[in-house]
Chain length 228, copies 2
């Protein structure tokens, strides 16, 4: 059973992470200072190292939390009873909205990787959640017979381990449409990143409309059409 010390430790760990997240939201990842969160917590900087052995470990924690947050946003935006094309657009919108609400955390996930820092294994399950939602939409559509049947199946492009994440198995799904799903998935984040990082400034008049149009085009690319 957890002793009082254990509970205190868990509490303080969470408190540090929360304060770090707050600081992240204001100064961004490069400006995140372990000493600053220690100061704000009223403790010596060295004491923080009892809870996070290094700044990178703290960042890893924040990364996992952020992946889970955007994943949860995508999941809760998905209404499995809605038509597939509408589900697709709703999930994309939720991702964009979360990114706009948490730009620094988004940059931490989908911006430049921290040099000399390779994402630990622990991040993978959380990182995959958004893609899994999109894959589920695709798979449900296939199983409902709403996807065009493929003439000749292409295989060998997608890793077998990734197949179940991309809609699972179905006659309407081959590696060609799975590949297009991967393209659509990365395109979603390409568009969101470009918008968030200012690459679109001065290019488009109505960002909302552009985004909806783009996501609808991507849905069509994988065989999801508003009508069917």
């Amino acid at each position: 059973m957890p002793t009082a010390r254990d509970r205190a430790r868990a509490e303080l760990t969470a408190e540090i992470a929360d304060l770090a997240r707050a600081q992240l939201a204001t100064v961004g990842a490069p400006g995140l200072s372990l000493r600053a969160v220690a100061r704000e917590l009223g403790m010596a900087s060295s004491a923080v190292y009892r809870y996070f052995p290094s700044r990178d470990e703290l960042l890893t924690r924040l990364i996992i939390d952020a992946y889970d947050a955007i994943g949860a946003a995508a999941e809760s935006a998905d209404d499995p009873t809605a038509p597939p094309a509408a589900r697709w657009l709703a999930v994309c919108r939720a991702v964009r909205r979360w990114a706009q609400d948490h730009p620094h955390e988004y940059a931490l996930l989908y911006g430049s990787p921290v040099p000399g820092y390779s994402a630990p294994r622990d991040t993978v399950p959380s990182a995959v959640r958004v893609g899994a939602v999109l894959g589920r939409v695709l798979g449900d559509a296939a199983r409902a017979g709403l996807l065009p049947e493929t003439a000749h199946r292409t295989t060998g492009l997608v890793e077998p381990a990734a197949v179940d994440l991309l809609g699972g198995d179905d006659p309407a799904l081959d590696d060609a449409v799975r590949g297009r799903a991967l393209l659509a998935w990365s395109s979603l984040f390409g568009v969101v990143s470009f918008e968030l990082f200012g690459q679109f400034t001065g290019a488009v008049t109505d960002a909302d409309r552009f985004f909806d149009d783009a996501m609808t085009d991507l849905a069509g690319l994988v065989g999801l059409h508003p009508a069917g």
Copy 2:
């Protein structure tokens, strides 16, 4: 006329930038240290400030140079005599190749923006070059009559100032295809970023084939088909 002092100054400025670029390639942007380049140059750190008033100014210089480098790579990969779909794929491949050869510089351009640092106006002309090449391919195809005519023209989505960069004016070009061109443009970088930043690990068996397939799909989205 330029005095000896002026020439020396220009030379030293370039030397600092070159050394900084070399350091960028090994330790990445966050690890770029002004003191380190000064050390490697055998001069006091304070002397470097005669040439770049701040670390951010140095970074800006590197950003502009990198935009120009990837822009030049895209331009020299474009053979205006080739069929549009082939031109499109060639340009995309060149962008990907440059990114793979200069991952840290790529991350500097298309990764997380440096917080508290907004890209100065000077970067815009260089930043726009890759997009301009793709826009030119699209415009040439339109003027050659290789694009499907649009039934009813949609307008008001793309900023007028950006129209000439997206192929110029032509009956075959309206804001719907221009919007899809913007989508394809950002998708190119979405795919390259995901591949470079490790988001695709364990998803695809043949990255080259996947990329070619994806870029061909994007070309088709804007109306560029291998046959035509």
